[in-house]
């Protein structure tokens, strides 16, 4: 998502540094550059050998970072840094569902007990460094208010009346997107694969599905209230009621906080994909990385192209300068794109091939910060004074 949110109110003050937080299948990397974003210092791997699904920073204290570290062997570990990623300490890692966990549907349609697997996404509070939301697999929302020492479930998501009908996507039943309305922190948006998007008006206590207008051919009722494989939501901080969505197939837009959606795929070469983000200063400028299909998780035609719309969708232009345009077959995952808040908006994304690309000119041209990391799972960026 756009980590420019916390600094949005301060836009116009001189920003001189950016810090990228990159999670990979085999460790975490912290990359820094000055405002030119031409040369980079790369530190890592932190937590070598572990999967880092996500790292994120507190808007209220940019040196406060959180990282989700996991392993199929050793489970979930949570890490916290108080010095901008130079040193880390493990914090609480117990994620226990409130009460009876219940069941959701398994891939074959049978009831399957809800079971915690890992934390997919961390979304720190806009105002309190010790408060962080965590989206987990199997889909649920947790929150810490003590800097990660303990985590409590906000069970209204998992216990939603439609919960028993949710089925996992190929990656698991994951709650992977959390957006906080900067003007009203009690309003939250989340997305779950493959349940859909949900909105809360009471700081996560209760939720309603916001999927009207989505159409998914892979489910029995293509227009169902829930069951859609939403891959990612994004919004600009100045207009939190305007949501953009990369669905399994289809790029969508809502102008009423998710009450209704319209397709904006337009002239994209394919509207399958994972990542979507919004320009830091132009709320109608959005970015996606089209992926060939759900069976071919790589970019079409061997060409790595970011597509940009300056009209809020439907009309898209390929951005290719500096990106490989032959023999390229990488993927870009849902949490692996971010934008900075400098005057010339920087855009960043990481690939399954271990490249992290940066554009210091809103996508007009790109260069690789690194070429050979482990597969990149997540990218966040901080704009620092």
């Amino acid at each position: 998502m756009a980590p420019g949110w916390p600094w949005y109110e301060h836009r116009g003050t001189r920003m001189s540094k950016v810090r990228l937080l990159v999670g990979t299948r085999k460790g975490a990397f912290v990359m820094t550059s000055d405002g030119k974003r031409e040369s980079w210092d790369v530190q890592g791997p932190h937590f070598a050998g572990w999967e880092i699904y996500h790292m994120n920073a507190s808007p209220a204290d940019p040196n406060r970072l959180y990282a989700s570290q996991s392993s199929s062997w050793f489970g979930q570990v949570m890490q916290r840094s108080d010095d901008g990623g130079q040193t880390w300490a493990a914090v609480g890692n117990q994620f226990q569902y409130e009460g009876e966990a219940g069941t959701h549907k398994w891939y074959d349609g049978s009831p399957h007990p809800w079971a915690f697997a890992r934390v997919w996404h961390l979304e720190p509070s806009l105002s309190d460094p010790d408060t962080v939301y965590a989206g987990v697999e199997d889909a649920a929302l947790f929150r810490t208010v003590d800097g990660g020492q303990s985590w409590q479930e906000l069970p209204g998501v998992r216990t939603h009346a439609t919960g028993p009908s949710w089925q996992p996507g190929a990656g698991g039943l994951c709650l992977h997107t959390i957006l906080i309305d900067p003007g009203n922190p009690d309003r939250l948006f989340i997305a779950i694969s493959a349940a859909g998007a949900f909105r809360s008006e009471d700081a996560g206590q209760t939720w309603r599905p916001i999927n009207r207008g989505l159409k998914s051919e892979g489910i029995p009722d293509p227009n169902a209230e829930v069951g859609h494989c939403v891959h990612r939501l994004a919004a600009h901080p100045s207009r939190p009621e305007v949501l953009f969505m990369q669905k399994h197939w289809d790029v969508m837009r809502s102008d009423d906080a998710g009450d209704s959606w319209q397709e904006i795929s337009g002239n994209l070469p394919t509207d399958f994909g994972f990542a979507i983000d919004v320009h830091a200063h132009e709320p109608e400028t959005i970015y996606v990385v089209p992926i060939t299909s759900d069976s071919h998780h790589f970019v079409p035609d061997g060409k790595l192209r970011v597509y940009r719309s300056r009209s809020g969708g439907n009309e898209w232009e390929p951005l290719t300068k500096g990106l490989p345009q032959s023999d390229c077959y990488v993927n870009v995952l849902r949490d692996a794109m971010a934008v900075d808040d400098l005057d010339s908006c920087g855009v960043y994304f990481g690939t399954s091939g271990g490249q992290v690309y940066a554009s210091a000119d809103a996508g007009d041209s790109w260069s690789a910060i690194v070429h050979d990391l482990p597969p990149v799972v997540s990218v966040e960026v901080q704009t620092l004074p």
Partner: protein, 98 residues
């Protein structure tokens, strides 16, 4: 004194060396050894066994004296050689690679 050997990812997490020496009060059992291990290295909580049920994580095994103790009762006494420190207690991750 009990000697414990962890897989490398857990050694890194704990900030521990290749072999850990633990004083375990009372009879040495798998449960008492793991309790003492987690007491000294809180970062390991949840990575070897579930924090609530205390069940072993499915892709880990416990070996000692060339025996697989993974499915033994957690309260069963460990072999004398482990209890005296002559042999280490091994926490092993299931083989991966290929």
């Amino acid at each position: 004194m009990i000697r414990v050997v962890l897989p490398s990812n857990l050694r890194t997490l704990a900030g521990a060396g290749k072999e850990i020496e633990l004083e375990v009060p009372g009879q040495a059992t798998q449960r008492s050894v793991l309790d003492a291990l987690e007491e000294r290295y809180p970062a390991l909580r949840g990575t070897i066994r579930d924090q609530t049920t205390k069940l072993r994580r499915p892709m880990l095994r416990f070996f000692a004296c060339e025996e697989d103790l993974s499915d033994e009762a957690p309260e069963a006494p460990l072999p004398e050689a482990v209890a005296t420190g002559a042999e280490p207690y091994l926490v092993v991750g299931a083989m991966s690679g290929g």
